[in-house]
Assembly symmetry: C2
Homo-oligomer: 392 residues x 2
Amino acid sequence: MIPSPPARGFPDSEFKTRLARAQAMMAERGLQGLLLLTEPEVRYFTGFLTQFWQSPTRPWFLLVPLEGKPVAVIPSIGAEAMARTWIDDIRTWPAPVPSDEGISLLTKTIGDVIASGQIGLPMGPETALRMSLTDFGALGRGLANHTIIDDGGIMRQLRMVKSDAEIEKIRYVCEVVSGVFEALPTLIRPGMTTAEAFRVFKIACLQGGVDDVSYLVGGAGQGGYGDIISPPTDRPLADGDILMLDTGCVFDGYFCDFDRNYAVGETTDAARKAHEIVWDSTEAGLVAARPGARACDVWQAMQDVLVEGGALGNDTGRMGHGLGMQLTEWPSNMPSDQTVLEENMVLTLEPGMIFEPGKVMVHEENIVVRGGEAELLTRRAPRELPIIGPFV
Amino acid sequence: MIPSPPARGFPDSEFKTRLARAQAMMAERGLQGLLLLTEPEVRYFTGFLTQFWQSPTRPWFLLVPLEGKPVAVIPSIGAEAMARTWIDDIRTWPAPVPSDEGISLLTKTIGDVIASGQIGLPMGPETALRMSLTDFGALGRGLANHTIIDDGGIMRQLRMVKSDAEIEKIRYVCEVVSGVFEALPTLIRPGMTTAEAFRVFKIACLQGGVDDVSYLVGGAGQGGYGDIISPPTDRPLADGDILMLDTGCVFDGYFCDFDRNYAVGETTDAARKAHEIVWDSTEAGLVAARPGARACDVWQAMQDVLVEGGALGNDTGRMGHGLGMQLTEWPSNMPSDQTVLEENMVLTLEPGMIFEPGKVMVHEENIVVRGGEAELLTRRAPRELPIIGPFV
């Protein structure tokens, strides 16, 4: 069954709703505008989608005023593509111009659009500054009537709760990739290197209908893998390996993020048992992830099952996170995260455990928080560790 | 002919050479250390390769002292993978910990490793700050005996000149993708959407032996395309379209970046002529790109051909750039860039022109600057605009 892809893009109403929510939060916090610099933040309000952000050369600026539509201050190379969005006011400079990389144009635009006051820029956890520090300093010095301060978490709060149209894109990519994971035992053979296994997986995902396999990491090792973020290698898969693949595939700019484990040929009771424990832990997370629960409660529910199952620890620092326009988003399922779950948050549940020294088992599913029980976006992994082989 | 891939990774000697060059530059500039935060910069000195950087949650820190090996201050999730590199001193914290995201550990480590003095951080053109501004402020306030200043361009100067082992990886990915572009007329049919064309191209690149099709943008339009950074769409390719695909494929962390143009079925004399002009312009760039020439000289040589050919302008701001661990690197082929070319710099030549209002033709090849004439890494495009079809 090949799922059919949802329409690309969004109606303008999606962006109007996002903007209205943002402006209400800005008013509450006394902000006269937002200054946004990163790919997902600019895309959130404009729909501007391009992989061109991979080039670090040019900064891009979006100014979201307290009233009225966002104003784009961008390199001229993006003018044509930005003009196809719902944005009307697009100001460009012929980047790259290292001597004035949009700074004077941005300074003037801020003055044109916002009389004076505080402008919010995301400066807190999980943020970065996608422009040079030198230029950021110059911008601050050039603004006479404005102060740039932290956005107070507005952007992460906005992006945590997804619209139905966003969820539809994530659901589609989860469905496609679930099918590929289910078919993987027919695609992988021992003797293949992990680089070949990665390649086969990527091709199957593209054939299945994703736009990109943006993220694929994995591990393979005898009786278990030692880390969960490794790139492809020339090591051949061997009988007795546990293979884990963890992928962030993308459709129309929205991610899935989940993994699957496989035993190559024979395996150990310890690995089998560890797989059942992380699976059971995910079940507990599924039950716990309801409106009103906190991210730390979801963590605790999963952690209890791991501890009971004899986990020796976990190096990943959390057990799942938000998901959407980026591979990982706010919040984190971890003890310190008090974020209260709301309907239409998309989360990963990702319990992991060290089950023997140097051997990890990690499992991951993607869900939407709903009024009652959470909705699975991925097709649930089997509780029993799947076997690739036997090979004769 | 399928090219065979070079070995993954580098011998330790590669990293020792890089470190020695860096430390000599640091000594010249009075820096006691470098603080590096971004994926390519950390990888440059460590070989640490993972797509995990796509998650914005965790900062990563590498401290390069004036003497001795680099010290990694990283999230615990990366400890195992970093331990497989040549780095010995690896300090971890159980990220994510938003209340202290490695800052106290980094502050202490700086004190342990560098007694006092100036520490360089890339703050100039084409850089970003891959940590939160709030944490960066806290770091600065916590350092009593150290000042963080701009690195004076050390990192871009180091990375501009490639080793033979780096060039081998780039050459391989250029060869694979050249073959795919040559075969494209057999893979594309009119009626396919650009999304389907993108997918077919990506699968062919993976089958050919690249690790990832990290970057693929393109344009298609009747008699010419209007912009060059667009994502896939559901618009079907039609007779009379010009299709352009521009890709950054990756092998072992090294990029190609080049494009090809095709006419779908019938085309116009204007499009044919524009293709010949940008091809001729690339020839002029190939001749100009020699040691001692400046990036602006390469630009001028290409620009002369475009002006002579009747170009109406160019919105891209430059005509090629450095290439390596990132899709685009320093320098830029543009009037203001005085960078003097040296042997073993890898560059793209990317002349583009508006040949009719709203219609662009852009062409790109990848080269290495050599003692005499530059070496092409890509297989040269045909001068005559290739035709897909006719379709009967």
